[in-house]
């Protein structure tokens, strides 16, 4: 994992915070499809302090999922991590061996997925699925793991856990399944929880339950990376938001700051087209154009073809993510000029 790293950015958290839990520097992940190379993630950096929640927001195809999967090194075979470092508790995740990585997965960093129905093995009971990784990591034996799993199910508000644990995933309601998945992730008491669109596949009432659950997780001191395309969800409990576009970070700011005053034109567009947050009377304005084709990215700023403020030739050179105010960064020369 060579490649130059960008300058360490001191962002997020309050002054005097301890060492960041996760420090991602210049991550670059490419997909190789035949003769084409798709730069799914191109230079993503951010920090996450312990016990804080970070939201990664963007359209589909922006590289959010690939970023977190790169952290866990769970990429399809056509993908290659070609650059960057990911410092987690003092070690570079991207440089670990597979064996060491396996010890991190599920134990120190846990992940919950968008659709619990698909993320759970339909032919194994809850008991098997919730306990197997405890045994893998040598946390405890099967019997003890079972007890812990039952308690965890109760913790997330699933009634009759001793009975439920013997059932199969399809026998639970959608909301219970999602919560069970979170319980499963938290059983090993990981330092970091990655949640990839945990509320997208459920209906609104369940969304609230899940989000409250995540709040509880955060209160326990676990760091959270939340991936979502829904700014309302991000606002619910995340401290900072990272906005991604075409594999790059275009803006990074504390949540309320971003929502009150988005700077990057893409962030502005996102808010303008967002249903949940907008003033009911304000008209919805979708962002013109369509999401970029990673195989044919424009020169320089990937957003400029759709940007109302675009100016050549300045927008044709790559935009770096640079600070603009307290705890904020933006990747747009024009915004910083103002």
């Amino acid at each position: 994992m060579t490649a130059p790293t960008s300058a360490p950015t001191n962002v997020g958290g309050k002054a005097g915070d301890s060492e960041p839990l996760l420090s991602l520097r210049g991550l670059r992940t490419h997909f190789v499809r035949g003769s084409e190379t798709l730069p799914a993630v191109e230079g993503v950096s951010f920090d996450l302090a312990p016990g804080r929640a970070l939201a990664i927001v963007g359209e589909s195809g922006s590289g959010k999922t690939v970023t977190v999967r790169s952290l866990l090194r769970l990429l399809p075979r056509s993908a290659r991590i070609v650059g960057g470092e990911a410092y987690f508790r003092g070690r570079d995740l991207l440089a670990l061996s597979e064996r060491e990585m396996r010890r991190v997965r599920g134990r120190e960093i846990a992940m919950v997925f968008q659709n619990a129905m698909e993320a759970m093995n339909p032919t194994l009971t809850l008991e098997r699925q919730l306990t197997e990784h405890l045994v893998w990591h040598g946390v405890c034996g099967r019997a003890e793991a079972r007890e812990r799993a039952i308690r965890a199910l109760a913790d997330v508000g699933i009634p009759e856990p001793e009975r439920r644990i013997r059932t199969y995933p399809f026998q639970l309601s959608g909301g219970m399944r999602q919560r069970a998945m979170i319980a499963m992730a938290m059983l090993t008491e990981p330092a970091l929880l990655i949640a990839d669109e945990p509320t997208t596949a459920v209906d609104v009432t369940v969304q609230r339950q899940i989000l409250d659950l995540l709040v509880k997780v955060k209160e326990r001191g676990t760091g959270i990376i939340l991936i979502t395309h829904d700014l309302g969800v991000a606002r619910y409990f995340c401290d900072d938001i990272v906005v991604m576009y075409a594999g790059r970070v275009v803006e990074r700011a504390p949540t309320q700051d971003l929502l009150d005053d988005p700077r990057h034109p893409y962030s502005v567009g996102l808010l303008d087209s967002s249903v949940e947050l907008g003033d009911r009377n304000r008209p919805l304005t979708p962002i013109p154009g369509s999401p970029p084709d990673l195989a044919r990215l424009p020169e320089g700023c990937p957003f400029h073809p759709r940007c109302s403020m675009a100016e050549r030739p300045a927008c044709l050179s790559p935009q770096e993510l640079l600070p603009i105010g307290e705890g904020r960064q933006v990747a747009c020369w024009k915004v910083r000029e103002r």
Binding site: G106, T123, W136
Partner: protein, 339 residues
Amino acid sequence: MLGGFAGYLARRVLRLVVSLIAVSIITFTLLQLAPGNFADLQRISSGATTIGSAGTEDVMAAFESRYGADIPPWKQYLIFMKGALTWDFGPSYKYPHLEIQEIIAKAFPISATLAILSVALALLIALPVGVYAALRQNSAADHVAMFLVTLGHALPGFLSAAFLVLLFTATLHVLPSSGWEGPRNLIMPVLALAIGPAAVLARYVRSSMLETLREEYVTAALAKGGPRRTVIVRHALRNSLIPLVTVVGPLLASLMTGTVFIEALFRIPGLGLYFATAAASRDMPLLMGSTLFFAVILMVTNLVVDLIYGVLDPRIRAEGGWGQRRPRRASQQESTQVL
């Protein structure tokens, strides 16, 4: 309407009985239409396969005493079916000193042995090959494996048998080409019989495995820190084998066909050989008896296979989804396999 398992079982058994009746009627009718009877055939010397001849007049007498000379066909059919239900098919034309059910009782275990051993061998070959090919998709090994699979699939069992015989008997002189004395007689027939099913199974295992590896729960299991091998076996392989059970039914049918030809080629005294010679010598009762028996075996095993499938897939078992064969298809997202 009965619900759940009992209802499903009842319905399947009913269908089985109806199908059997249909098969027996069809066979019986067809055989009634056949021109010429056994006695006439014996009087005309035929070509390659004449296998002895008995006192034909005695045979015809025995037959007529059982079925009656001037009884209409449908009554003959009923007599036959009544006999069938009581495990009494009457005497065979060709082997009049033997009752058909005796023949079946003696010959079927031999065919069954061949079939079971072949399936076992086929699985033994197909599982590792299929899994390996899936894990190394599009690699050279995968292409070679799939090429061999095409070969095994295209060539019928008796042709593979012919090549095996050429190699092991004619060239290497290590194995006998006919007879049924000891385990050495088993090797080539079982191998030849297993090649076709092995090819079909391997291809199926591979594609089932490829599909399963793309499921999100495999990635999720890895994300929990699962060791690669454990995840492959416990999550991917297990689930990809379940739909395999549905292939077993058609496989058995082709296995049954295979035994007929293989036994004929190797002169193994199994039910297939008797079936073939019954056809060649127009031994109607034996032909009907063995056909019916084949049909029963096939349908019963299909039923058992379906039941096993229900046991393996808890979704069917628990929610009373008996009768729905397809496992629910998961998403087709870009979350592609990580293994």
